[in-house]
């Protein structure tokens, strides 16, 4: 079962009630994670396996289990692609969770990961390309 960890020190995040703001200092992108995204992010960031997180959501929300699985997997792929998470090996099989009665569960809303790249251009002005004789980075004059 896949496990992940936050891509520190490049990635920093702050959790609010219904949203998490993430910044990838390496790529210059920042992100807003909403809907069921914060719940999933926090669980994955804690080192819970992907399968375990999927089962947790299937037990907590009403909806097609396969659709929830696909949604969580796709969200995790997005986090990996954005280099917000990195793979951290495998974990033990997740225990099955007893679902809450259907009527008590809120409907599942797919997690959202919204990317903002407007600071990327500035970040990519990285001046460090070479070093001088004393070992200090040289300014890119371009």
């Amino acid at each position: 079962m896949k496990r992940f960890r936050v891509n520190v020190p490049d990635v920093v995040f702050e959790a609010f009630d219904e949203e998490i703001v993430l910044v990838n200092l390496d790529t210059g992108n920042y992100y807003s994670v909403r809907d069921t995204g914060p719940e999933i992010w926090l669980a994955l960031a804690k080192g819970e396996g992907l399968e375990q997180v999927t089962r947790m959501l299937q037990a907590s929300y009403a909806g097609d289990p396969d659709a929830i699985h696909a949604s969580v997997s796709s969200f995790a792929d997005g986090l990996l692609e954005a280099k917000l998470l990195v793979a951290d090996g495998e974990s033990r099989d997740a225990p099955a969770l007893a679902p809450v009665a259907e009527g008590d569960r809120p409907p599942f809303v797919a997690p959202t990961l919204e990317a903002y790249s407007d600071m990327q251009d500035l970040l990519l002005l990285d001046p460090i390309h070479d070093v001088d004789q004393a070992g200090w980075p040289v300014a890119n004059q371009a």
Partner: protein, 352 residues
Amino acid sequence: MPIDKGREFAALLEAEAARAEAVAEGAIEGWFAIGGLTMRLRFLGSSLVPVIAPAFAHLEIAPRDHAHLTLECWDCAALGLELPSAPVPMAAFTARGELQGLGAGVHAAFEPWGRQLSLFDAARRRAFFCVGNGAEIRRWERAEPVRAILSWFMREYGRQLVHAAAVGNADGGVLLLGRSGAGKSNTALGVLKSSLAFAADDFCAISAEPVPTAYSLYCTAKTIEGDWKRHPFLKSLNPDLDMFGDKTIYYLAETVPEKLIAEFPIKALLLLRHGGNACHAVPASPNAALAAVAPDTARLLPGAGPEVLHKVGKMVRRLPCFDFFLGPDPKRIPDAIEALMTRLDAERLEPA
């Protein structure tokens, strides 16, 4: 015995500073109160005085017995000295210029233009700003000098530098948030003709406890080329124009010292938005305010990381946040800010 690279490098710079002082035949000193803390600036040679000191002119104080930070500055080219060799390999430099792997308590960063080396030694309350050639420091950097050192220094005392403008008066004020081009500088300069005062147009320091407070760092403002022509009153501020079309810089302590304020309690956070039929404020979420200020702050400050988000996150949760639409008439903006603060005061006294 493990080698503490940071401590070793700090000792090397201390020795270099002593050498610079000997060559310069003394030091030129200035004392400044920044963020409620005392900074003693020692210039080893005169060439960096006009590069650094004017931006802090509004915060100058009489010499004290004690400084929270002693910062020594020298220009190797002017003194015929060499910049010390880098203590870490190329791979240890980050995109923001910080040197990784120095160990706890010592922070350093390098800026290639002018070959600016900044080092902060937290335990010894000392910092060094050593440049290869001060003449090559970019013009706009003179408006916000030694920013990395201020960031480390302020953080040591529970403050955080943030990418925001700040205007207000002794009773309170607002932070103006937004990316470059959002209108921070023009809005901050616009208050000079009102009863509000100017604390910052680009970077200020904040503390979240016990009361969210904004602190002025620099008395400078920057606008894009030509703004001073569109807003005639800016011309009276003696703009430092650049013949190559770079930003126009205003040293406000020279022209309007009475309109500068060192600190005030923060009453609200305004996310600047262009547009609107009139200048007006609409409640916004704290996370929108965080997204408006934290990423840029983290990008622009060497060594800034999770603590930026945590400290700014703490602040945005404690303060009302608004989308602030600037409207078509800049002259009305200061009145709208004052009206908003008056309304917030009234609501605090008479909660709904």
